[in-house]
């Protein structure tokens, strides 16, 4: 029973670690803090 519990805990910890890595990895960019979109002035 203890062995099964250990295995379950190990599986859950591994899954959580993988999910965390996937979540963090490649998260590029942050929301723009200032400014915004406006119509392009082509006469510039």
């Amino acid at each position: 029973m203890v062995r099964l519990l250990r295995r379950v805990l190990l599986a859950m910890s591994t899954a959580a670690a993988i999910a965390a890595v996937l979540r963090i990895r490649g998260a590029g960019g942050v929301p723009p803090q200032t400014g915004g979109w406006r119509e392009l002035e082509i006469d510039d």
């Binding site: 490649g26 590029g28 803090q33 400014g35 915004g36 979109w37 406006r38 119509e39 392009l40 002035e41």
Partner: protein
Amino acid sequence: MPPRIGVLGAGAVGSRVARWLLELEPGAQVVLGGSDPERVAELVQALGSAAAAAGNGHLHDQGIDVLVIAAPCGRHVGPARRAIRAGVPMVSTSDRVEDIHSLRALTPRAENAAVTSLVGAGFAPGLSCLLAAQGSSGFDVVDEVHVAKAGTGGPACARQHHRALKGSARDWRDGAWIRRPGGSGRELVWFPEPVSGADCYRGALPDALLLQPFVPDAARITSRMAATRQDRFTSWLPMLSPPHPEGGVGAVRVEIRGRAGASSVVRILGAVERPAVGAGAVAALAALALWEGAAGPPGVRGLAGSVDARAALERLARHGLRAQEFDGIAPV
């Protein structure tokens, strides 16, 4: 004399190309062809007397000035080769990398036939190329161009989106092409409203291939596409459900980094539109540029550097497709 333009394909993009041609150039005549005669007939009826269905034989044999190929990806090379052989300028809306390679390989034939043709004339590539050309106009040196797109047009476009996500991406980096796995490189990209923020990934996209000849000295040229986690997870499978007749509002965003004088400059341009509508507008503009003889010397090229981006964007803005610029501090 008004232009007589053939449109091959009566789907979401082909029908928009025909409508845009008639809106941008009143008096133009459109000859429609496609694999579904019923759909072509319906479209001809809806467009009125300015449109006609193609008769028997190839579209390029029917007295047209320019041929726009708006068929599903993978069916562009044959009609393009025949049109060029017949001396008819051609516009292709395909966004499939293999199509772009094969179409650009027709350059010697186009030069021999003294025919100019434009490829990648859709939403992205297409509008993205016009935005990149316009955005880089004030730069002394362009160091980086990064393109991102969100949304799909009709069912054929959705299928291509699915294929692209599992395909191999080609990024231009420090003078060489490097391949990266599709679905990698997640980046949160901020498009104009209402699309706003979307996670974008690498994919088999041709934007960098088409932009590199325009900015040959740039160190980095990349392209990404918006996708959901489900899209990414299921990209290796066949499409699990049939695509919608047409997707919703999409967007394109082009970030250009470089130098002007002694300053480092970043410009971010974008546009929001239903992708099939935007693709139709750009393809129609490209066809009219070819008809006007304003698309450069003979050859097969992308839009950047071939057509006057400023005039094209002005013309689109007058008809409701307005480009936007992000004014503020770009996230680093």
